[in-house]
Structures are given as structure tokens and as C-alpha cells.
Symmetry: C2
Subunit: 384 residues, 2 copies
């Protein structure tokens, strides 16, 4: 597919955005010209923040406006539902959008009551700044950052079809308190069930291939809004959507808390797609693998052991190689260890690709992770 990158972020044609940050709180608004075809994917955590429950209950009405705050996750607090509803009401009132079409998200600390008055003030301010220019998208992306160090937005276009998004997420390893929020806009005409399954599929191959450990956030939300104005083949739409979710997901990993290296892991030759995915996840989630990369230590035994905890394979057929830029070093060939000198040089780089071939079948999967550093521990010991 021949797409081109654009600079719209979430401000693709038909959408405005704004963001304000002051003190502990930030507020982002996204406003569509009309009610959108809407799809959404939420956290699988059994503990769900109030705004997740709220938005889960309403997004099928079609979303026209999103209000999201940083600074407080509005999770595990009595009165959380009331606060989520009050945020939605305020946005509804200020933007002149029916309450049933306003989605709400929150990100920040769990278990503390939100200062809903502070948030309401910021909603008003943000509303005054709504703009269809990419600046609005940038401000919105900034407003929802917590431990993020980088702004995350991406958009692309193909044959008049636009898909663009912003997200926040403070790292690979640590879907923190209220990790991952992502809003995507498009003008593609893709109806109901297909929009939802396209989003689910795109999330599976992007955000779910970077996400992590036992630590699943209570607030994760990915929301896709379509103005339904330009015809588009479903296959092309899916490809464009995956491009956007993939780029955003990789931005989260690159911004991983304390991360010093970006690691792409590909498992090939797996018996099934599920095996390939589980193999990739076991590797990118393993603290021992992550700390080995931090130490620039080509300890492929940890990779084999991590995969072995998740899937069955024949160690005697295992190939593993490390690559960076144009250099490649094979560290294991048919289960036999090779010289590790070239691998050590490769691990000194910032971007590393690990390819594992199981020689058991025709399936493969790719995922993205980062190393685990002493800074990761420092950041998470201190955050509150």
C-alpha cells in the first residue's frame, strides 16, 4: 500500500483537538464535526477505573467528543463514577455535544479522589483552544502525558483516507497506574462490526505485542472514531490502521521507563501463530532477558529459557541471531552456541533485533520491548 505520513496526529479532516496542563492535572479534548462510527478496546484488568466502565457503557452510541485527564486515574475510589459522569457533563455542556456521545478517560494515581473542580476548569480552558490544526493534536498528546518523556502522535494518508492518533504510555515494562490511552481518528467509511474487528486486530498486533508482565493497567483504552466520509476497502483500511497503531506502540516502547535500548523480537518457524506470539511475549517480558540486554550480555540461554516457559520447541533445532543496522551475528545455530564476540559488539547499539527460528512450522510474530535498567527501578520506586 502506498501511504504517506502526515502531520495531523488526531486532527485528521473532521476533527479538532486541544490540551491544557496546569499543576497536577492535564485535560485533552478531541471533538468531531459530528457523531462518529466508534470502536474501542479496553483493559482486560478486572479492576477497571470508573471512566473505563463509563466509556465502555456508552461508546456504542457513537462518540463525538473525548475528554481525558492526566494526574488522577479515578480508579478504586468511592464516587469515581460520579466524577467520570461530571467530567462528561461538563464537556457535553461546554462543547454542545449530547452527553451520550461524550467519552471519558483518566490516567494517573490510583486510589485517590480526583479534584473534579480543577479538571472542570481545565475542560473549559481546553474548549476555548480547540483547533483543527496539528497543534491541537500536539497539545492534546502533551496534556495526557504522565511519566512519558516524549509526545506520541502519528498519522498517515492513502488515497484520501486518513488515519491518525495520539497516545500516552510510560513504558514497556511498566504499564503504570494508568498506562496507555490512545485515540485514533479517521474518515474511512467502515461500519460497526468491521470497525471494531479492525481495531481489535490492529491492537493485537501492536499494543498487545508490547504490553507486559503481571502489570496490566486499570485504565487502558484505545478509541477509534470515524467520521465515515471517504470510501475505503476494508483491507486497505486495516493496513493503514495497523501502520498507525504499530508506530504509536513502538513510540511507547522507545519511551519505556528508564529504557536504554529498543529491542525487536521476531519468532519464526513456529508451529502456530499463537506459539509465535507467546514466544515473542515471553522473551520481551522476561526481566532476566531485559537485564541481560541492559548489561549488553549475549546471554541467549535466558531467551531459550523464557520461551521454554511459554511454548514447546526442540532446542536442537534452535537458531538465534542478533542484528543492528547492517550487522548480524548468529549466536545459536541448530542448538549449538557460536562465538559471541560479534554479538557483544551488536549489543552495544541502541536498536537491536533478535530473530529466533524454531524450525517447527510456518508461523511468525514480531514484538517490541526495551531493556530493564537501574533507572526503571528508581523511577518506579519513587513514583506516587
Amino acid at each position: 500500500m502506498d501511504f504517506r505520513e502526515t502531520r495531523y496526529g488526531v486532527c485528521t479532516p473532521g476533527f479538532k483537538a486541544a490540551g491544557v496542563k496546569r499543576g497536577r492535572y492535564g485535560v485533552a479534548l478531541i471533538l468531531a464535526d459530528g457523531v462518529c462510527g466508534t470502536a474501542a478496546v479496553f483493559t482486560g484488568n478486572n479492576v477497571k477505573a470508573a471512566p473505563v466502565k463509563y466509556t465502555k457503557g456508552m461508546f456504542r452510541n457513537g462518540v463525538q467528543a473525548v475528554v481525558a485527564n492526566s494526574g488522577n486515574a479515578n480508579c478504586c475510589v468511592p464516587g469515581g463514577m460520579e466524577d467520570a459522569r461530571e467530567m462528561a457533563s461538563e464537556a457535553s455542556r461546554v462543547l454542545g455535544v449530547g452527553l451520550r456521545h461524550v467519552a471519558v478517560s483518566s490516567t494517573g494515581i490510583i486510589g485517590r479522589r480526583m479534584d473534579v473542580h480543577a479538571v472542570k476548569e481545565l475542560i473549559q480552558e481546553a474548549a476555548d483552544r480547540l483547533t483543527p490544526s496539528p497543534k491541537g493534536s500536539l497539545q492534546a498528546a502533551k496534556a495526557i502525558m504522565t511519566t512519558d518523556r516524549r509526545i506520541k502522535m502519528y498519522s498517515a494518508e492513502c488515497g484520501g483516507v486518513h488515519v491518525g492518533g495520539i497516545c500516552k504510555g510510560a513504558g514497556m515494562i511498566a504499564p503504570d497506574m494508568a498506562t496507555m490511552l490512545c485515540y485514533i481518528t479517521t474518515n474511512a467509511i467502515v461500519r460497526g462490526a468491521e470497525l471494531q474487528s479492525a481495531l481489535r486486530e490492529a491492537v493485537e498486533e501492536s499494543f498487545n505485542m508490547i504490553s507486559v508482565e503481571g502489570d496490566m493497567s486499570t485504565n487502558d483504552t484505545v478509541l477509534l472514531m470515524s467520521s465515515m466520509s471517504v470510501r475505503c476497502g476494508l483491507k486497505d483500511f486495516k493496513q493503514l490502521l495497523k501502520r498507525v497503531t504499530g508506530e504509536l506502540a513502538r513510540m511507547i516502547v522507545r519511551d519505556g521507563e528508564g529504557a536504554s535500548k529498543f529491542i525487536e523480537v521476531e519468532v519464526r518457524g513456529a508451529r502456530s501463530a499463537g506459539d509465535a506470539r507467546r514466544g515473542v511475549k515471553a522473551v520481551i517480558n522476561s526481566p532476566l532477558v531485559k537485564t541481560a540486554f541492559y548489561g549488553e550480555n549475549p546471554n541467549w540461554g535466558r531467551i531459550a529459557a523464557a520461551m521454554g516457559s511459554a511454548i514447546r520447541f526442540d532446542e536442537g533445532k534452535l537458531d538465534i541471531s542478533f542484528a543492528s543496522g547492517s550487522s548480524t551475528a548468529r549466536v545459536v545455530k541448530s542448538g549449538r552456541t557460536m562465538s559471541l564476540d560479534a554479538a557483544k559488539r551488536i549489543l552495544a547499539n541502541r536498536n537491536i533485533k533478535v530473530v529466533v527460528d524454531l524450525h517447527a512450522g510456518g508461523h511468525s510474530a514480531v514484538g517490541w520491548g526495551c531493556d530493564m535498567t537501574t533507572d526503571y527501578v528508581r523511577i518506579n520506586a519513587g513514583y506516587s
Copy 2:
């Protein structure tokens, strides 16, 4: 049950032990007066070290001698099976024990061929030092240490029935390369299937309630040998065995890599025993919870979120308290956060107990963990 602690370690009546360490390698021997009733539990990792496969294939013959080396895991290497067999043969020859009654274990680095000649030399040396005195147990425990800082042995007696063991394990978080080896001896007459199920049950409540993340070792082995000489009720035997495995398991956590705090987690009021266990494990395995304890940060939201990723419960009924020594601080009562000042003071201690009450049923479970520190990362970045 009225038991008393003893100092035998694995040298309970009817057993001798010895250990030697030199350079990169260490060797431990345990020798019984005759062939023992034997039970064993091995790693669930699909990648299994050669000695695990070897011992899994023979322990039902009854074990009379154990030979274990540190320095190399004998895992993911061509020729590993031959090396494991050669270790067993050498021990068989030197000790005059039938080859089919010799069990083998290894711990250390994965993917590098073992220097089996060095190990054979140490086997001979260790054989010369075999002794029924507790010193033999101590030397054996020392010989299998890798990143362990403390020797781990424990034994107890009740009505003439002895159970004693040694183990190695370098930490809660990081079942390293070849984490956990444990040998237990007894004189209790407990036959076949009952011995196996007693061991399985004891492991479930001890080593499996400290174990960890994605990182499951390829070499984990728990072996129980009985000389079958003293009558003992099954219930009493189980209790004594659980005492020994529990103490050894907690020793592993206290020696956790880089750990600065020991954390006991109890989940009460769960709908099922499985829920209680999964809840405990989710908490002790969460890097976010672990780093929060390191930071002495009473961030109970992370505890709720970690449990929510594993089990369903009503946040509105949740009680959480922290305790240390005689001080207790309730941080959440019926889902509402309390003052955290007292909790902060408690978290400044080294030993912390977390009690979570779900108010959903009558089941409970207990597990043990440690905090995650910058030293954890440093140790695992450097180890090779």
C-alpha cells in the same frame, strides 16, 4: 504438632553428605545407607536441562545417591545427556552405588558445555569427605551455591521422625539460569504415591508460592528421599515436610537477588483457594508492587491493580493492611483509602506483612516475596 528444630540439614539419620568447591565448579554428594523411597518435582519449563531429563527418567527406581554440580547448568548444549550420564557413572563408581540409583542435578550458566573432567575430579574429592555429621550437609549446601549469599539448610524432628533439607536459589525474582535445587531426606515410612503427593503438596505451598514472573528455570528440582525406617502418620509427615519446605522457601526469598525487604502476602476472604493463590502470586510477582516496596511507598493501588489482572473481586469491599512486628496500619477499608502515615512508617522496616481481605468467601493463601531494587538489575545485567 510438636516438632523441634535440629541441626542435621540433609544429614538426618541414614544419610551422609559432602561438598567441594574449586574455581568455577562445585560438587555436592548426598548418600543414603540404602536405596530410598523417592519422590521428585521438576521445573515446568519446556526447556529442560539434561540432568533434569536424566533424573526424571530414573528417580522412580529409588535414589540412593545424588550428585549435583554448580558452575554450569548443562542445559541447551549438544552432548548434555552424555555429560549428565558421565557424572552419574562417576558417582556410581566412586560410591559403589548402582547407576540406576544415582540422581544428577546441575546449576549455573546455560548454553555452555560443561567441563565434565573438572566435575569428575570434584566428585572423587567429595566422596572422600562424605560424613554423617551436619558438617557434610553444610558443605553440600555451600557447594551448590551460585549467586546465593547465604547457606540454606533446615531440619526438624517429631517423635523420632526426621525431615531435613538443603537448597540453593538465588532469589525470588530471578530464578536464575538454574535456580532452585532442593534435596530433602527423611526416615518416615511413607510409600510411593503418598510420598509423591505429599511432596507435590508441600512444594505447592512453599516453593511455588515464592516463584516468579515469566522466568521459570530450566533446572528446578526438588528431590525427597526416605530411608523408610520409622512409622509416621501421613498427616504428621505432611506437616513436618511442609515445615521444612516452607523454611527453605523463605530462606530463598530472604536471599533474593538485591532484595532489601522480605514481604509476606496473605489474601483472605477469597471465593476459592485458586483465587487466593492467584491473588497472592499476582502481588508478589508484580514489578510495580516490588519497586514500590523498595521505595517504601504505600501505593496500595498497585496491589489492587496487580490482583485485578489475575482475579475478580469487588473493589468496594477491599481491605488492605500493612504490618511489621507489632504495628499494623490499615491502608484501605471497604475500598476507601485511609491515612497512609502509619503505613509509611511500617514500610521503613525490613520485614513486612501485607494482608488483603476480599470479603468474597472463606479461602485464603500466603506467599512470600521481596522488593525489586537497583541492585537486582545490576546483578542480573552483569551475571554471565
